[in-house]
């Protein structure tokens, strides 16, 4: 049985999906978290359900990119039933969508989620009455704690085989005109819906309809004639074409209001006073900006402080084990070339990635998720809209930018929430200017080694680097919207969802677990081969010098113009598949060029860098270059997929790189003078 999960944005569809399937689809307290379909399975009472999570949508007549997926699914998708998820705290608005869905199918279960929040706000809902009025089952759920999920499944199995009459929209005046189309509309799909879309001349809809049912509504001239006659009649009767949609929605919305007055009771008129208070301080010009920067600093500080301990621990552990591994392999008389390659190539890079890179990632990510769950992110979008508008874009770009902190590829995909194609491209191209999770550790270790060891100042400096990245985001956005992506931003609408208490414990466990698995997976797929390659490059000699030596010698003049050296550039190049291997490769590179054999702690790491001619300027250039260089392979592939254009993929590659070269060149120049 195929079941689709639909509903307004941010009502907990993905959380329900996870509760149903036991999967871990990402959730977050802001509208637009899910932008693509996801599938999962659940067997219940011997029946297998294929469950699909869909992007949220406010209504079915709408047109933004991620919402179209959902609209097409409801109208033309292959499903046996739909679960329409509603937010118990704003049933009235959610019912609009329910009514539109009931127009086309009666295989519906209405799932009223977030009843815990509603209870807190003293909102009372009469589920039985609502179910009677709508003609379909209504289930209350708390998706986060999996309450009511079984009831949902019970009702689902019942509804699939039932043929209930359900509540239909009353089109009132429009009815007179719609019936005039009924004789030409076949029976297999709601005549009213087809009629309305004919009158609206909604070709997106009509084309899909024609495709599915083998009709020719979008091109048939008789149909067109009939439609224009009716529109003429309407006009004569004093109804505007413009009014059709308004009329439909108005009728729906009046109906919903009526229903709500019967089934919902607000027992506390000031139920949202905490939210309004938080909103005031989060969006105030002064306190809002301070909190934004403050939170960024706080998150970074916690990351730096707490990453240190597991990092040290893993470091010690791995390097003790390295000797064991070496002896173990040697014991079996494996040729020393292979042993060296495995231990000093593959194992070392893996060990570094896990020990040095993983802890900051595993700490930063849950902190970020907590802010996301709280509902803070849309407030950032609201605060920054002014700046973005000046740059020719909109506040939603702040959401995708912030997602970039986690992973730039996610930020790129997340850009689908931006309606205007021009602004979406702006957001995609500039996304890599905020350092992703995989680049933080590099920044953190270099800052603590070369700039300040004090963790508070270290976090401050890191904050500055990031703010600089954000500033560049604005700058490039502005330049692009004056040149390649000419235009200015006019329209922008954004929902500010209610604050919800994050499930701190669960988030921490979940994201440490997820992150660890993710990094380990990448470590095996990317870091291990990269380690092998770099070791081979360093140990295969051509004409007296190693291949690595030849490459780095070749790159080194270029590197020195930028305040770096050949090994560093080589590391960035080889780090193309994944940013977290840049530092390990650098270290490998230096070591293989024969300066040091054993590195047991960060002090020796520092010495290794010093011995290779690093100074403060080198470290600053490396940090800047790590923020501004080509995005990683995954991100670029995602950009290709999202834009479908080689040109924009190339520009997303070249713009940050050019910028990095310029910035490092300038820094280096200034220092030399």
């Amino acid at each position: 049985m195929r079941v689709g999960l639909i509903g307004n944005p941010n009502v907990g569809k993905s959380t329900i999906f996870n509760a149903l399937t036991g999967m871990h689809q990402h959730t977050g307290n802001w509208p637009g978290k899910t932008v693509d379909k996801a599938y999962g399975y659940r067997v219940y009472n011997g029946v297998q359900y294929i469950i699909e999570d869909l992007p949220g949508t406010y209504s079915l007549i709408s047109h933004s990119k991620e919402e179209e997926i959902t609209r097409d699914y409801v109208y033309f998708g292959d499903y046996d039933a739909l679960i329409v998820v509603c937010d118990a705290c704003s049933i009235e608005r959610n019912l609009n969508l329910v009514m539109q869905v009931l127009e086309v199918t009666n295989k519906v279960v209405v799932c009223v989620n977030l009843i815990d929040e509603a209870k807190k706000k003293k909102i009372e809902i009469d589920f039985n009455k609502l179910s009677d009025i709508l003609g379909v089952p209504v289930v209350g759920t708390i998706a986060r704690s999996k309450k009511g999920i079984d009831n949902l499944l019970d009702d689902l199995s019942r509804v699939i085989y039932s043929h209930n009459d359900v509540k239909k929209i009353n089109y009132e005046v429009l009815d007179n005109y719609l019936v005039k189309l009924f004789d030409i509309i076949p029976n297999y799909f709601s005549k009213n819906v087809v009629g309305v879309h004919l009158l609206l001349k909604d070709y997106d809809f009509l084309n899909s309809y024609d495709y599915k049912y083998n009709t020719d509504f979008s091109s048939n001239s008789l149909v067109k004639k009939r439609v224009s006659t009716i529109l003429n009649d309407m006009f004569k009767d004093g109804l505007d074409y413009d009014d059709i949609q308004t009329l439909v929605m108005e009728n729906v919305s009046v109906e919903c209001e009526k229903i709500c007055s019967k089934v919902v009771r607000f027992n506390d008129k000031n139920y949202d006073k905490n939210d309004r208070f938080l909103d005031k301080i989060f969006t105030n010009k002064v306190s809002g900006s301070l909190i934004m920067i403050g939170l960024l600093f706080l998150v970074l500080w916690i990351t730096i402080v707490f990453a240190n301990y597991p990092s040290q621990f893993l470091y010690d552990l791995f390097f003790k084990f390295e000797k064991v591994l070496f002896n173990f392999l040697a014991f079996f008389h494996i040729p020393s070339f292979i042993v060296n390659a495995l231990v000093y190539g593959v194992y070392r890079v893996l060990a570094w990635v896990v020990a040095v890179m993983l802890p900051p990632m595993a700490i930063f990510f849950p902190l970020f998720t907590i802010l996301e769950d709280l509902g803070y992110l849309p407030r950032i979008a609201f605060n920054l809209d002014g700046i973005y508008q000046k740059c020719g874009s909109c506040g939603k770009q702040a959401l995708t930018m912030v997602q970039g902190f986690g992973c730039n590829a996610v930020g790129v995909t997340g850009s689908r929430i931006i309606d205007s194609p021009r602004e979406r491209l702006l957001s995609i191209v500039t996304n890599s200017f905020v350092p992703c999770n995989g680049r933080f550790p590099l920044l953190i270790s270099l800052i603590s080694m070369f700039l300040v060891s004090n963790k508070v100042f270290g976090s401050l400096i890191l904050t500055l680097f990031i703010v600089f990245g954000i500033f560049i985001t604005f700058l490039i956005t502005k330049i692009l919207s004056k040149t390649l992506l000419k235009g200015f931003s006019s329209s922008f609408i954004l929902e500010l969802p209610p604050y919800r208490r994050p499930q701190i414990g669960k988030v921490i466990v979940r994201s440490i677990f997820d992150r660890t698995l993710f990094v380990l997976k990448r470590a095996v797929i990317v870091s291990a081969p990269a380690g092998l390659i770099i070791w081979l490059l360093a140990n295969i000699y051509i004409g007296g010098s190693s291949i690595l030596g030849i490459c780095t010698d070749f790159l080194s003049p270029f590197g020195s113009i930028l305040g770096m050296d050949g090994v560093i550039l080589m590391a960035f190049l080889l780090g193309f598949p994944a940013n977290e291997i840049v530092i390990p490769i650098m270290i490998m590179g230096y070591m293989s060029l024969g300066y040091i054999i054993d590195i047991n702690n960060t002090q020796e790491l520092y010495n290794l860098f010093l011995n290779n001619g690093w100074n403060i300027v080198t470290s600053i250039c490396v940090m800047l270059f790590s923020i501004f260089h080509f995005p990683c392979m995954t991100t670029l592939l995602t950009i290709k997929k999202e834009t479908g254009s080689l040109k924009w993929t190339f520009l997303s590659f070249i713009i940050p790189l050019a910028l990095g070269i310029i910035v490092c060149f300038i820094v280096n120049l200034i220092v030399k003078i």
């Binding site: 047109h63 608005r93 919305s253 006019s490 609408i493 929902e495």
Partner: protein, 71 residues
């Protein structure tokens, strides 16, 4: 009067929406339609946020100037 002229915390009822097709659709989606109560509760340079049917929606001043309200 225009929605933009509504003072902070002053409640109005939407009377007419005269935006372009696309934006009007968006408005309708989120429940901005004739007869609906609307109240501005937050503001910054480019946007204001409104309480509407229990949810908070931020709208650019550029867009909200196309909404007419009565008090």
């Amino acid at each position: 009067m225009k929605l933009n002229d509504l003072k902070l915390y002053e409640e109005g009822i939407i009377n007419k929406v005269t935006a372009s097709e696309d934006i009007k659709r968006r408005f309708l989606d989120i429940g901005i339609n004739r007869g609906v109560k609307i109240k501005p509760i937050l503001s910054n340079k480019t946007m204001r946020a409104y309480l509407i049917k229990g949810t908070v929606i931020g709208i650019r001043l550029n867009d909200s100037k196309n909404i007419e309200v009565i008090i």
